[in-house]
Symmetry: C2
Subunit: 191 residues, 2 copies
DNA sequence: CTTAAATATTGATGTATGATAAGAAATTAT
DNA sequence: ATAATTTCTTATCATACATCAATATTTAAG
């Protein structure tokens, strides 16, 4: 039994049938540090479940600068949700921040499971709901907080693994430059 | 048959039972311009479906300034998703921007329908997915675009009703001041 | 260990946008 | 219509953060 099933079992009673189907549709993969799993312009529509390690999704701007959309560690889902749910070509890239193990699950395969097993759909609906709340909170944060406030909230929210992420990537998640973040950190250290 | 059912029928075949249950749990309400439906600190957990008119959800900062989280018109859902899916007390307010008609649907009642009718849950899961993509796009926009770019995208995305919304509220949605938006508009007019 | 590469810091300077305040224009109410 | 209120604009000035460039520090590679 793999870790995804372990994780799902925390929430719902999962039948052997679902377990077996999940195993059948999920592809286990090892990702190296810096390795790209999903690249922009790819046509693959996949969900990723993190077993170990740490990943991030990011957008590369025309000028080459990158903005980080999401970080993910053990038991988190990550994906290019804009592509998964609207467009055709993927606009984000996903890479490993450290050596990681992941499960790749195709969109259509997952949807088949939703239909065949309503309790599995319910489990996922709750994930969606939490995800929506998280995204709204981030929007609120981007609209109302200063650089220092955003950083403080980030290290509080992501205490588990904030120190594993390079500061310049945290900066790109918060919507500030690495230089600004460095000044914020200096300011914080002096108090 | 009301407009919510009409709207749902565009997506899925809806049985009489679902229709009847939906009618039973949804409370129709008329909202005046400027009237608050949901206020911060309320304990109600409700989804709102807009039949006519225009609403917005917003957050009131400590200094009294408001930031707009979402606008909604006919056939859109709106709610305080942070409260609905995580916290207890509501942190957002929802008000009518014009005289509007809405349906109020309690969180628990809606969840009961999900369980009793998987096809209805599927319909809603797709809404969730689109919502996630929309929120991600907005985050990307906030992280990468200038004031002028955000405004141009806004009037393109919300062409249907952008002109119905006062500019200072559009500004508060884009994360800029009304004065800045005014300058952006002047700049655009001169070209 | 030593060197190379990646990441972080610091300083000097620039700029987009914010803050404040006043007046103009548009809505709404009387 | 007229007045009152709300919304929008304009100007001046302030500032948080960006940019650029150099150096320091840490991490990874040979």
């Amino acid at each position: 039994m793999n870790e995804l099933i372990e994780y799902i079992k925390h929430d719902i009673a999962i039948t052997d049938t679902i377990q077996e189907k999940l195993n059948r549709i999920s592809i286990k993969k090892e990702v190296q540090k810096g390795e790209n799993i999903l690249s922009e312009n790819s046509l693959k529509k996949q969900h990723i479940f993190v077993l170990t390690g740490c990943l991030r999704s990011f957008y590369r701007m025309e000028n080459g600068k990158e903005v980080t959309i999401q970080f993910a560690i053990k038991n988190w889902w990550i994906g290019d949700y804009i592509t998964l749910y609207t467009e055709n070509k993927s606009i984000l890239s996903i890479e490993g921040l450290s050596k990681s193990e992941i499960l790749l699950i195709g969109k259509t395969e997952l949807e088949r499971l939703y239909i065949e097993h309503p309790e599995f759909a319910t489990f996922h609906r709750k994930n969606f709901e939490r995800h929506i709340a998280t995204l709204q909170k981030r929007i609120l944060s981007l609209l109302t907080q200063t650089a220092a406030e955003k950083y403080k909230q980030f290290i509080a929210d992501y205490a588990d693994f904030a120190q594993k992420i390079p500061n310049y990537q945290i900066a790109s998640y918060l919507g500030i430059t690495a230089e600004s973040l460095s000044r914020v950190r200096k300011e914080m250290a002096n108090q």
